[in-house]
């Protein structure tokens, strides 16, 4: 019988690593910081030029701006025939809006800025500033997507070079939270003219453009972007990581020591986040596992650092359990599988777990528990297996859907969709403060974004649930094999004079250790510490 690990480590590595698009994001996600009052043309310190609509200027409604990427309607461009033309407003409203903004009256500021934008031609000196501050108001009000749309407009139009650096920095901050990847990553940072970028964002843009090239398989072009990165910056480390992952993906199972060394070096790079360094360590462990260097793989798993009381990731424990199983450490394997039963991992989709538990019990000649462990998989996933066999719509299956949503691009799409839903609800709370025109406009922006995000999510979900279903079917097949083998062993004739094998020596506690008996209560600080004492029921070799 050949019961094998469900997924090759390299494939797992590629999947996991590529799934983490923002794997090396340095600062934790946080809302866009408010700029210091003096850093922008504040009304008192540096009054912007008064917005004077030139004589004979065409109203915004009559001269629609070019269509923006992402099918977003142009700001201040109401559709003809559907809405009243925007009312004329006094250009001083811009100054009032800025004052409101710095007085923390974001709703009022947003309404005035929108009115200004609607009634002012894009050539106006303050037009870009108005868009920028409208975006900041919306971001401050937790309408991040709407804010991103306006920032994207400023970045695309580039009509005021003074606004651009602040705009790009604000957009960079928005990439740390669920965001429209097409709008920001691809259409802004992925396509910027790098020659005119301020230093503060040029590295990030170079990195993003390199990533775009890597995704389409053009490593050489990606390198032309990556060589421009400042070696001391975080983007340089992230670029190295991305290149290594690409090399790993292209290696197609051929693992060389240099690649392991490179990942190992990256795992010590303090410029990367702890999560990114852990990813590098996991990559080292997976590559060593592929090379059957199980001891080395264990060392790499031990290097993974978790914040205090962080339960860690289920895949980490499962992979370590496979490694220990291959080293013959059966009891330690069961210990790790006990960890995977913790409430923190109860929702994880890990069909492998049941197979591995059955394998360990089988190797200890505990055949009934082995059979029971194997059957647990079919019991637990019976609905999903039934749905697969009946060729139902798998995206409607609760477990498969949850598994698909738990990682990769589907996870990002789901998170963005969720954030749009929340922001859409949030928008309703500002209906009064925004006024009818801005509220309607933002409602339209969110409707469009939601429709597109939903379409993208469903597309990714369909592919992802199919992968998860394949994984489940393979595990189900392994379970059948296991049940067959265990059934044979259960009814095997015991030879005359057979004795139970010598029990394994118990490892004594040292004076520096303390043992807490496990009674089903999981403590996060104990998750890597379970030690199982389980007798082997195997018979001694050589019985007649």
């Amino acid at each position: 019988m050949s019961v094998v690990r469900m997924q090759s480590a390299t494939a797992a590595a590629v999947t996991l690593l590529l799934a983490l698009q923002g794997v090396a994001q340095t600062p934790p996600p946080q809302p866009a910081p408010r700029p210091p009052a003096g850093s922008v043309p504040a009304p008192a310190a540096q009054p912007p030029a008064p917005a004077r609509p030139p004589a004979g200027s065409v109203p915004a409604a009559a001269a629609p701006a070019p269509a923006q990427p992402g099918a977003q309607p142009a700001a201040g461009q109401p559709q003809a025939g559907q809405e009243q033309p925007p009312p004329k407003v006094d250009p001083k409203i811009f100054d009032e809006a800025l004052k409101d903004y710095f007085d923390d009256k974001q709703e009022q500021a947003a309404r005035k800025l929108y009115a200004f934008i609607e009634s002012t031609p894009p050539t106006d000196e303050n037009f870009s500033w108005a868009q920028y501050f409208l975006a900041r108001c919306l971001i401050d009000l937790n309408l991040r997507h709407a804010g991103a749309v306006y920032l994207a407009k400023v970045a695309h139009e580039r009509s005021n070079p003074q606004v651009l650096p602040k705009t790009l920095e604000a957009l960079k901050v928005l990439t740390l939270v669920p965001h429209d990847e097409v709008l920001i990553d691809e259409q802004i940072f992925g396509s910027l003219d790098l020659g005119f970028l301020p230093d503060s964002v040029s590295d990030y843009a170079n990195y993003q453009q390199g990533l775009v090239d890597l995704r389409v398989g053009n490593e050489r072009w990606a390198r032309t972007h990556f060589v421009k990165l400042d070696e001391a910056g975080v983007e340089a480390s992230r670029a190295k990581f991305a290149l290594l992952v690409t090399r790993l993906r292209n290696a197609k199972g051929v693992v060389d020591d240099q690649m392991i060394e490179d990942f190992l070096e990256l795992s010590k790079d303090e410029k990367l986040t702890m999560e990114a360094r852990n990813e590098a360590r996991l990559a080292v462990a997976r590559l060593r596992y592929e090379k059957k260097d199980y001891e080395g793989a264990l060392k790499a798993y031990d290097m993974v650092q978790l914040p205090p009381l962080d339960p860690g990731r289920a895949t980490l424990y499962l992979e370590e359990a496979w490694t220990r199983y291959n080293l013959g450490q059966l009891r330690a394997t069961i210990g790790l599988l006990t960890t995977l039963d913790a409430p923190s991992f109860r929702d994880e989709f890990l069909p492998d777990k049941y197979i591995l538990r059955a394998l360990v019990y089988r190797d200890l000649c505990q055949y009934l528990p082995a059979k029971r462990a194997a059957k647990e998989l079919t019991r637990r996933f019976s609905d999903s297996l039934e749905a697969i066999r009946e060729r139902d719509d798998l995206t409607q299956d609760f477990r498969l859907r949850r598994a698909a949503n738990s990682h990769g691009s589907t996870k990002r799409a789901a998170k963005f969709l969720e954030s749009l839903n929340l922001e859409g609800e949030n928008l309703g709370r500002h209906a009064g403060g925004f006024g009818d025109r801005l509220y309607k406009h933002l409602g339209h922006v969110y409707d469009l974004a939601h429709a597109e995000a939903e379409r993208l999510y469903q597309q990714r979900l369909r592919d992802a649930v199919r992968e998860e279903a394949d994984k489940l079917l393979r595990a189900d097949e392994q379970v059948r094999l296991m049940e067959y083998e265990v059934g044979l062993k259960l009814y095997e004739r015991v030879k005359r004079g057979a004795k139970l094998a010598q029990p394994e020596k118990q490892v004594q506690l040292t004076s520096a250790q303390i043992a807490f008996k496990f009674t089903g209560e999981y403590w996060n600080d104990e998750l890597r510490s379970y030690r199982v004492s389980i007798p082997s029921r195997c018979l001694e070799e050589g019985a007649q």
């Binding site: 009381l309 009891r331 069961i334 210990g335 006990t338 019990y361 200890l364 505990q366 009934l368 528990p369 029971r372 506690l509 004076s511 520096a512 250790q513 303390i514 043992a515 807490f516 008996k517 496990f518 403590w523 600080d525 104990e526 510490s529 379970y530 030690r531 199982v532 004492s533 389980i534 007798p535």
Partner: protein, 216 residues
Amino acid sequence: MKRTLLLLVCLASALAHAQGEELENPGTVLAVQDRTYRMSSELWIGVGIAPLDAFYKGLTGQVGYVYHFSDSFAWQVGRGLLSYNIKTGLRNQLETQFGVSPTAFPQLNWIVGSDVMWTPIYGKTSWLNSSVGHFEVFGTLGGSVINERIAADVASGTGQTVFRPAVHLGLGARIFTSKSVSFRLDFSNEFVIYKGLESNIILVQLALALNFGGTE
């Protein structure tokens, strides 16, 4: 005979159930961890109260040094206590209204002593399900020398003092805050031995303990 058979049937079913459970879920699981906090040389300073005597309450300050041979056994090499005594209302009343002589009230001056310390309990606890704290519970047994003032010359502010032996028995708990800092709460009793006039001095104390040289 019937009773014996019935008993055997009951026992057999109980054994079968136990065996079935063992077959289905074999083995036991322990969470084995390195001790986060280990004591080595401990210097502590504490404040407390001697609350038992009806005629005075002692506010105490105490210092001590403990050498830990292992995680469960230690020698409290020395400890010294000074008591600042405050008259109770009862004593004031006796002196002022009933004319009882102030020399009739013996009171604690100071204590020195040495003990052995046994720490059988080391555990952890959860604080609001967001952090884990570690603690230990220990007992102490030792001997003390107690200095008591048994008579006082109120006018001159001097008095006669005596030394008395005592057996020290205590129970305490320690909460660790870091590898080198912990807090102790001690409850102890001094059984003062004196020619058929035995007495007890109960002490309650909170102390800050500094640990030097503990293994990481």
